[in-house]
């Protein structure tokens, strides 16, 4: 038998704002349509429970609402708040069950079949759902029944956090609920009202054949719903690849320090959502709405999957300091690319390594100091061209023994290449000149005799090398090892294509 839970957050637009500004939870709050055209009267779109207790209702003008509730706090309706809260509620439910359905703003249906063995009885499942919703900042009520409609009506009419309708008791549980609980079309609701059916129990008592004859399929569907039967298919919801949190600002921010405080708040909410479903982020994208009307977007790769707010904030702030917005900021949105990382710990004999959290922060600071292109691990190119390498982001392997003993191209583990008699342990290093500096060389025969007016004491060569002759990037050179009069032991190279001499570097 199927069983469903319904997670319901009442007055959802107000709850979405309270989630971003928790201090408003104890105050009467009204959400108004601040974007109404000039001259139009601003009206209340939504009000929280405290405001409703004092008579504030959606549809009132702001003036009327303030007359009824002098302490009323108003906030404009911000789409990002509602979208982020809606996603957060869905993800919170997803942390309990893999099958959930988006029922609209503030409404999530959860398929609870099989959860008894994991969590416990239906009441325990309901408490888990309430807990997950509260973890993302949304106060929810949960109803559990064999049908989604029965679960939703139970959640909407309940006074406690969790309401469970036992199997077979749906009709009795729904009997007192008003007809409006079914979200019927206005025409159908008016017709049923004319017939005297004002509750679901009265609707369920009507003869089914008569309803089918007079109202057709819509009447039969309404009758099924009144009996607690769902005929609509379950439409599972899957999380989007990017998760976003946003914050609208009532004032303009023109300093990174003040922006960091807002970013921290947004990242905390994002971190809570990721933690609720055991995910981490490996990339962040920040999108700043500007007072000039434009947007400033930055993508920040985290280099290491993480869920902690502090290093993520550090990386975002460092990136924004390097690439500041061109105008004051009026809106902040941060999205994360989530990935699942398996928990683990280092081996007993594994040497200590930088903690990823500290490492990414330190790398970001170094990147701000020297430039990201000057930081990383070198990877040798698959070529004999001198000084052919690329820089990759620094990410040291965590394993003690490489699983792939060949390793990535250009990476050579010392374990694969131990010192042998053929390859002596101590290798001479070259201090390379970058870029290779052009030098004037006088030759005796073909051998260098003077380099930039410095006498050559001894030399060896040429060591001929060439490559990529099949390509436009062809190169060919003769290398000479020379000892100069000042004692420097250098490597010279003569470009055989141009005839120029270069100082490759100094052996040291």
């Amino acid at each position: 038998m199927s069983r469903f839970g319904c997670v319901l957050v009442e007055h959802f637009d107000a709850a979405a704002v309270e989630r971003c500004e928790p201090a408003l939870r104890e105050s009467p709050l009204a959400i108004i349509n601040a974007s109404a055209p000039t001259g139009k009267i601003k009206t209340v779109l939504e009000a929280n429970a405290e405001a409703r207790e004092q008579g504030v209702r959606p549809g009132m003008t702001e003036t009327e609402a303030r007359a009824r509730c002098p302490m009323l706090v108003t906030r404009p309706w911000v789409e990002e708040y509602v979208v982020a809260a809606r996603d957060a509620l869905l993800e919170a439910a997803l942390a309990v069950s893999p099958r959930i359905e988006d029922g609209g703003a503030g409404l999530v249906y959860v398929d609870t079949v099989g959860l008894e063995r994991l969590i416990g009885d239906p009441a325990s499942i309901g408490r888990r759902l309430v807990h997950q919703a509260r973890a993302v900042g949304l106060p929810a009520r949960v109803g559990l029944a064999v049908s989604r409609t029965a679960a939703r009506v139970a959640a909407a009419r309940a006074t406690g956090a969790v309401t469970v309708i036992p199997p077979g008791r749906e009709r009795a549980a729904l009997a007192r609920a008003p007809l409006a609980a079914l979200d019927l079309t206005p025409d159908l609701a008016a017709t049923l009202a004319r017939w005297g059916a004002r509750t679901l129990g009265e609707l369920a008592a009507l003869p089914r054949d008569g309803l089918a004859m007079r109202l057709g399929p819509a009447g039969l569907r309404a009758h099924d719903l009144a009996l607690g039967l769902d005929r609509d298919p379950f439409r599972p919801w899957t999380p989007p690849p990017f998760w976003e949190e946003a914050q609208g600002l009532e004032w303009e921010i023109d300093s990174i320090g003040a922006l960091a405080l807002v970013l921290e708040t947004v990242l905390e909410r994002l971190g809570q959502r990721l933690a609720a479903v055991a995910l981490t982020a490996d990339a962040l994208e920040v999108r700043l709405g500007l007072a000039s009307g434009g947007y400033h977007a930055r993508a920040v790769s985290l280099a290491y999957p993480m869920g902690e707010v502090k290093p993520m904030l550090t990386l975002l702030v460092l990136d924004l300091e390097a690439h500041p917005p061109q105008a004051p900021v009026t809106r902040v949105a941060v999205s994360a690319h989530p990935i699942r990382t398996s928990a683990g710990q280092g081996g007993l004999w594994q040497p200590p390594a930088p903690v990823p959290r500290d490492l990414v922060s330190m790398l970001a600071r170094l990147a701000a100091l020297v430039g990201a292109e000057n930081l990383g691990s070198p990877v040798l190119g698959d070529s004999h061209r001198p000084d052919d390498f690329t820089m990759l982001a620094f990410s040291p392997p965590v394993e003690l023994e490489p699983s792939d003993h060949r390793g990535p191209r250009g990476w050579r583990s010392p374990r694969q290449n131990p010192a042998t008699p053929d390859e002596p342990e101590h290798r001479l290093a070259l201090r390379r000149t970058r870029p290779a500096s052009r030098v004037d060389v006088e030759t005796a025969g073909e051998r260098p005799a003077r380099v930039d007016a410095r006498h050559v004491v001894a030399c060896a060569g040429p060591w001929r090398a060439s490559g990529e002759w099949w390509d436009a990037e062809a190169w060919a050179r003769d290398e000479w090892d020379v000892v100069l009069g000042d004692g420097a032991l250098c490597r010279l190279a003569r470009d055989r294509l141009t005839g120029h001499w270069y100082l490759d570097g100094v052996y040291d």
Binding site: D358, L380, P408, L428, A429, R431, A458, L489, D508
Partner: protein
Amino acid sequence: MHDHRPHEGAPSTGGPTPKRVVPIRGEITEIVGALSSGRTSHLVACLRDVVSRCETAALVDTDETFDPAFASQAGVDLRRLLWVRCGGHRDVALRAADMLVRCPGFALVALDLGERVPRLSTTLAFRLKFAVRRTDVALLIVGRRRLTGSSAALAIETLREGIEWAGPGPVPTRLARVRTTTRVLRSRHAASGWSPSLWWSA
């Protein structure tokens, strides 16, 4: 807890001076010498020692002279090496090294200052010394002359002794190897003196 005992290969009290420099964890080690005296080869050998133990090393390269191909041939696992290129800016290199020694987990932070070694105040040298002790990282400074004065636990001078050439005929065609020696300028653990010669293959 910091273990300030000299590691294997480091100068030990009363013993002979070793051929190779081995930086001490939690201390500052300096290698000074003229160009082509072998100081960079010592630096690369130290990097190789660290990464071969699957530890992590960082190199602050002031003049961008590090050659990854030569280092790879010497046995350095480049994946475990963080290379920081400073474009010739000494102040940037010092700040980068200061950041790195404050990040626990690195076994070795090497600072290659090249030929132009800046002046470092005693205060900054002591800051480096205490940061290194706190994180138990080995800080290796390579340059033409000494930088940190009495804050260094070990200071070594390198000197080239000879060169061998190679080739099939009477005229050499390639550098074969270079012989160097080291002298202890300052050590808390070993007596000063010259070490036996060491050959570095080209």
